[in-house]
């Protein structure tokens, strides 16, 4: 029964309708996801899983006309013109649409289409006469991508796929992979032997490429692979065909409707109708490969074509360029196409972007499409806040998915490389992206070398600091175009070697060497265009304050993808098999001082800058430089903001920076005093919440916001949270763990855990209740890497992401025994136990607490919460494991309640946050402004009197009085006044509480922020330009204490 129902749970597409009551069949409208037709209000008799029919059913199709013309790729001259004229997009369009609907592409360009499902008519390539006057509103890539959910439905078993495909005409195909297992393509073969026959072919992974088993043509991702096999059958018996309804969809809306059906599309009327027509129209015609589209697959064994001479640019290069250019305009699918030029691109290993989500949520907006295929980290902009969130939502629970994607496919968005860099017209996205890849990889590579050899110390901090890579991205976008070319060149040369390597490690080494070489190269050859000073000695901290106000366009700010954005997570060091996570490598706390300088100077740097740039590239680079500057300004403001906040938090001259410092010091001081780990962590969380609360209300943050970029409050909060994690949690992480360990050593729980771990380890899988496969050694290895990374991570959010990834691996291993079967808790928990028994439990125990208590309370956890609970529960179970009964003794009430109470705590925290803050903080200086600032906690009810008492204790000064310095004068405070109302009556950041002797006439303050007393070394101390400065601030020792954190 279990099995049966499991199956049925999955087979909705096949079993057609679920009877549903009307309200249920209304899809709730979901935010940010535009859906074309309003859901029918009552359709109880309808299939619940079928969305409304498209407003206009696909018109009955004329026999496929020859695709809209575009000069065949092969015959294309090499246009150097920047205008994106007829980029030869691969198009799978069957019938050119004569219904020009608004396409997502702002500027649909003529596209060479390949008839996919109408193989009979296309003229032989490359001569493609323009047959349809109206350019298709959607390229075939659009269609392919837009219908991903149809041809690659989620969680479709092979059996299900087969049964769907059987009923389809020859060429129909389904891509299915169960829980990350090998991806298969099921293809409906022609009815030659009578009975319908479905051929299953495995998609293999070769490095970062994928290819069909038995074929040596490799592709970046599944979409590309499919699009190729739609046009050419290669090893297949028949080229693939998208369903007629899709190839004939003329409107994006139609496609959306189809897409929303997912696997149910196959059984829907839409498909059936189209199929019938299709059959009539194209009987017996399906086997002919349609027109050959341009494709340039690399054979796995072959060395890539590395003709770098612009004059001999291959047609592929041209295509690449054009594609990119068109992608500039369209901002969409063409990007994918562009990457088809495989050989010229760097070896795939470098690419870290995820491939487009298999199921585009919506095709309704142009930018939506763009987003789908863009490596989110670099193109994400806050102006698209909603899109962001949508994307995130989509990525929800997709941590594992992401990983899966990564593992099966190397990113589509990777722009083509070397040749283009020289011959192409200004290509905005391309340089940006490519450089980022490149840079970040070099970074990675360089990181190792730099660290190992201890050389290039100036660079080191930057490399090691988290998110620092992003700087490079930006920097390179802005200023290192020349480098692009050089790098491109490098990479293509490297590629040759690399391609032959067997594994990534080798490639990595290779690159390390390369990076090393690069580093050593003098940056003399070609002066980098603007803003690329040669590698600097870290300048004095001049910029400390100014930096905060740095103008938005500064392209060099390092974005911090690493926090928060799931995409960022994917982009950064998330190679599933790599031991390196962002946390371990990036986050080594370096000399902050230097780091800051680096950040600021981000434009400057890197000996690599001018490496091996050839004159021919200069013009191009300049053009690209200009463009990329613009782009950079657009895309990185969010990261920039995060970074600015981080810098602000480090800036001892800012009020906030001081607050952070104070808090940190206070936390460190009190860490050993806590009686329980929960209390300890809660204290820290509260501190963070308070800081966040302060910052969100402060002018300090306002000053940093770029007026042109509006953030929603939520977005802003999450940016602030990320920055706080970095500036507060990161330095504290080590200390927190030490304290937690101490606390648990005290209560014996770790010991207990260790003892019982061996007992559980000794249990048979049956005793654990395992009913499925358990992870094999390789999976266990992956899990252990993930968990180890999780342990190293400082950000609770990222820890949870890693936990989810771990769980995903567990699920994957479980499904080995029963592909396609969905596993519930009955199955999962025992395997979880099995896995945990083989993991580092004491580390995990601390991690779980860390995550639970430090997690941003405003984050809705959902799935994360569930798996945290499960992990927590499993740990408790192990702790109380009773060998005799091989069961758990009743958990203590406390433990039983723990999750509930945890949720309560979070809720409360959230509530506080929402209310502003229950407990606020005030910084008081004594005896004068800038001196000896202390942060005091105040409640809404705290009066000045009470605050003064606190001050008396804190400063050990009985007879002083409390006044507020604002508007240039000291204003006395009434004892009965509420401290917070005094604070709130002041402009945030523009006041200072001073606890001083009664008679003291206070020296005029410069800034609202508390400052440390002199003497500071002159070169260390810079006053903000906007202040008439007096008191020197920030003694070095302060800075040191910061660093030592």
């Amino acid at each position: 029964m279990m099995e049966v129902s499991q199956d049925t749970g999955h087979t909705s597409p096949l079993t057609a309708a679920l009877p549903s009551t009307s309200p249920l069949s209304h899809p709730p409208s979901r935010p940010c996801r535009p859906r074309p037709p309003p859901p029918p209000t009552a359709k109880s008799s309808q299939l619940p899983s079928r969305p409304p029919l498209p407003p206009s059913t696909p018109p009955s199709l004329p026999p496929p006309l020859p695709p809209v013309l575009a000069p065949p790729p092969s015959s294309l001259p090499l246009p150097l013109s920047p205008t994106p004229v007829s980029p030869p997009l691969i198009s799978l369009q069957a019938t050119p649409s004569s219904d020009p609907t608004p396409s997502i592409s702002p500027a649909p360009s003529p596209i060479s289409t390949v008839s996919l499902s109408s193989p009979n008519s296309p003229p032989p390539p490359p001569v493609i006469p323009p047959s349809s006057p109206a350019p298709p509103s959607m390229s075939s890539i659009d269609r392919l991508v837009g219908s991903t959910s149809v041809w690659q439905p989620r969680e479709l078993s092979q059996e299900q796929a087969t049964s769907i495909i059987e009923k389809e005409p020859a060429g129909a195909f389904l891509v299915h992979s169960v829980e990350d297992k090998a991806t298969m393509i099921s293809v409906r073969l022609p009815d030659e032997q009578g009975a319908p026959h479905v051929h299953n072919v495995t998609v293999k992974q070769h490095k970062t490429f994928i290819h069909l088993e038995g074929s040596s043509l490799v592709f970046d991702d599944i979409v590309k692979l499919i699009s190729f096999y739609c046009a050419s059958r290669d090893i297949l018996a028949i080229p693939l065909r998208l369903p007629q309804a899709i190839t004939t969809a003329t409107k994006r809306e139609d496609l959306e409707v189809i897409s929303s059906l997912g696997a149910d599309f196959w059984t829907s009327d839409l498909n059936q109708q189209a199929k019938n027509k299709d059959l009539v129209l194209h009987q017996n015609d399906t086997i002919q490969p349609s027109l050959y589209i341009y494709i340039n697959p690399v054979t796995v064994e072959d060395k890539p074509d590395k003709d770098l001479n612009p004059s001999t640019l291959s047609k592929h290069d041209v295509i690449t360029n054009q594609n990119i250019t068109s992608s500039l305009q369209n901002g969409e699918a063409s990007q994918k196409v562009s990457t088809q030029v495989k050989p010229q691109t760097k070896s795939g290993q470098e690419i870290k972007y995820k491939r487009p989500p298999p199921r585009p949520p919506s095709l309704s907006t142009g930018s939506g499409m763009g987003l789908l295929f863009c490596p989110a980290p670099s193109l994400q902009t806050s102006s698209s806040a909603t899109q962001d969130t949508e994307k995130k939502e989509e990525g929800r629970g997709g941590v594992g998915d992401r990983e899966e994607r990564k593992s099966t496919s190397p990113l589509p968005c990777r722009p083509p490389v070397p040749p283009q860099s020289r011959a192409a017209p200004p290509l905005r996205p391309a340089p940006v992206r490519r450089t980022s890849h490149r840079k970040s990889n070099d970074r990675e590579a360089g990181e190792g070398t730099a660290r190992e050899k201890g050389q290039n110390p100036a660079k080191k901090p930057e490399r090691e600091e988290g998110g620092e890579r992003e700087v490079d991205k930006n920097r390179s976008k802005a200023g290192q175009l020349g480098e692009d070319a050089a790098e491109a060149e490098d990479s293509s040369q490297q590629q040759e070697d690399e391609v032959n390597k067997d594994d990534k490690e080798d490639e990595k080494e290779e690159k390390e060497v390369k990076a090393e070489e690069d580093k050593q190269k003098p940056s003399t050859q070609c002066p980098p265009p603007a803003k690329r000073p040669s590698r600097p000695v870290p300048p004095p901290r001049v910029n400390l304050n100014l930096g905060i106000k740095m103008p938005p366009p500064s392209p060099a700010r390092r974005p911090d993808v690493s926090l928060y954005s799931p995409q960022g997570g994917a982009a950064l060091g998330t190679d599933p098999d790599s031991c390196s996570t962002s946390s371990t490598e990036e986050e080594v706390e370096p000399n902050q001082e230097q780091e800051q300088n680096h950040n600021r100077l981000s434009e400057s740097r890197s000996p690599k800058a001018a490496v091996r740039r050839k004159p021919t590239t200069v013009m191009l680079d300049r053009a690209r430089y200009r463009l990329s500057t613009v782009i950079t300004g657009l895309i990185s403001h969010e990261r920039r903001l995060t970074q600015r906040i981080v810098e602000l938090a480090r800036d001892p001259l800012s009020y906030f920076g001081n607050l952070v410092k104070e808090h940190r010091a206070f936390t460190l001081e009190t860490l050993p005093n806590h009686a329980s780990s929960t209390e300890l962590l809660q204290e820290i969380r509260q501190m963070m919440t308070q800081l966040k609360s302060y910052l969100l209300q402060s002018t300090e943050l306002q000053a940093m916001l770029e007026p042109q970029h509006q953030y929603t409050q939520d977005k802003l909060e999450s940016i602030v949270e990320a920055a706080l994690c970095k500036s507060v949690l990161k330095p504290l992480r080590e200390h927190i763990y030490q304290s937690l360990e101490k606390l648990h050593a005290g209560d014996n729980s770790l010991k207990q855990l260790a003892q019982n771990q061996s007992a559980v380890l000794g249990s048979t899988t049956t005793a654990l209740g395992v009913t499925t496969a358990v992870p094999e050694a390789s999976a266990m290895e992956k899990i252990s890497i993930k968990l180890n990374n999780l342990h190293q991570e400082y950000s609770p959010q990222k820890k949870i992401e890693l936990l989810l990834k771990t769980c995903k691996i567990i699920y994957d291993s479980m499904s080995v025994s029963g592909p396609g079967r969905a596993h519930g808790a009955d199955d999962f928990l025992p395997v979880m136990m099995y896995v945990l028994a083989r993991s580092n439990l004491s580390a995990l125990q601390l991690d779980v607490e860390y995550m639970m208590e430090l997690m941003d309370p405003s984050l809705t956890l959902g799935e994360g919460s569930y798996y945290l609970t499960t992990t927590y529960g499993a740990l408790e179970h192990i702790k109380t494991f009773d060998q005799q009964r091989s069961a758990t003794r009743q958990l203590s009430r406390e433990v039983q309640d723990s999750i509930h109470r945890w949720e309560r705590r979070r809720t409360l925290n959230q509530e506080r946050m929402a209310q502003g803050s229950v407990r606020d903080f005030l910084t008081v200086c004594c005896p004068e402004i800038g001196t000896n600032p202390k942060t005091l906690g105040v409640l809404p009810t705290t009066t000045i009197q009470q605050l003064a008492e606190q001050c008396a204790t804190r400063f050990e000064q009985e007879s002083f009085i409390l006044s507020v310095y604002k508007d240039g004068v000291h204003q006395p405070t009434a004892p009965t006044e509420l401290a917070l109302s005094v604070k709130n009556s002041c402009q945030p950041g523009a006041y200072c509480f001073v606890y001083h002797p009664i008679s003291q006439s206070v020296t005029p303050a410069i800034r609202s922020c508390p400052k440390d007393p002199p003497p500071a070394p002159p070169e260390e101390c810079f006053l903000p330009a906007d202040v008439t400065a007096v008191s020197p601030v920030e003694p070095e020792e302060e800075e040191e204490s910061l660093i030592s954190l």
């Binding site: 249920l24 949870i800 009955d826 809720t907 929402a914």
Partner: protein
């Protein structure tokens, strides 16, 4: 993870629809079809309203109820006796529970009764409990009479339906009935009510009153 958060937040752009989020816990003996039932519910809906999850132990699905979107976060529990002690972690704070038994296995009905008892004793006082006699498609092997379960459910104040994850019988109905039974206060003011229940960890409204409730 963060995606989750902003996913919730993105509700802010949704006009005019109240969104209530509930934690629903699934209890029942092993192999009674807990996850199948939920999968049937979740997968039977429009894809786009279903959130991708890494596995079937946690699923999320929304249903529309008049002008309100009710979002269930469904927490599955392991039915094995040996993991019984972990269940409280899952059901404490849940606003709804479905206790599942297999109509062909009387012992699972007994176990279900025990769950109900435990829930009524230890879970939130106002938890909505539904009893599901699953595998109704195997009526010929039925060993738990409908009336018996029905009577029990009436006596203990539970929602009761016989369901079949296989045929989808009563699956959506069950969830819908639960959705309807969820406290009105939550519907009116999810933020407030959910907070008091202390469980709105996942409640998107909790942190965006302005977003979800502002329009109302």
């Amino acid at each position: 993870m963060s995606s989750r958060g902003s996913g919730g937040r993105s509700n802010g752009t949704l006009p005019q629809t109240k969104i209530c989020q509930f934690k629903l816990v699934l209890l029942g003996d092993m192999a009674v079809g807990k996850s199948s039932l939920v999968l049937r519910f979740v997968k039977g809906q429009f894809d786009e309203f279903q959130e991708t999850t890494i596995g079937a132990a946690f699923l999320a699905q929304s249903v529309c109820l008049d002008d309100t979107t009710v979002k269930f976060e469904i927490w599955d529990t392991a039915g094995q006796e040996r993991y019984h002690s972990l269940a409280p972690m899952y059901y404490r704070g849940a606003q709804a529970a479905i206790v599942v038994f297999d109509i062909t296995k009387p012992e699972t009905f007994e176990r279900a009764k025990a769950w109900v008892k435990e829930l009524q004793r230890q879970a939130s006082p106002n938890i909505v409990i539904a009893l599901a006699g699953n595998k109704a498609d195997l009526a010929e092997k039925r060993l738990v009479e409908y009336e018996e379960a029905q009577t029990y459910a009436e006596d203990t104040g539970l929602l009761f339906m016989e369901t079949s994850a296989k045929t989808a019988m009563n699956v959506n109905e069950l969830f819908l009935a639960i959705a309807k039974k969820m406290p009105k206060t939550d519907t009116q003011n999810p933020t407030h009510a959910a907070r008091h229940r202390g469980v709105n960890l996942q409640d998107p409204d909790a942190h965006s009153t302005r977003a979800c409730c502002g329009g109302n």
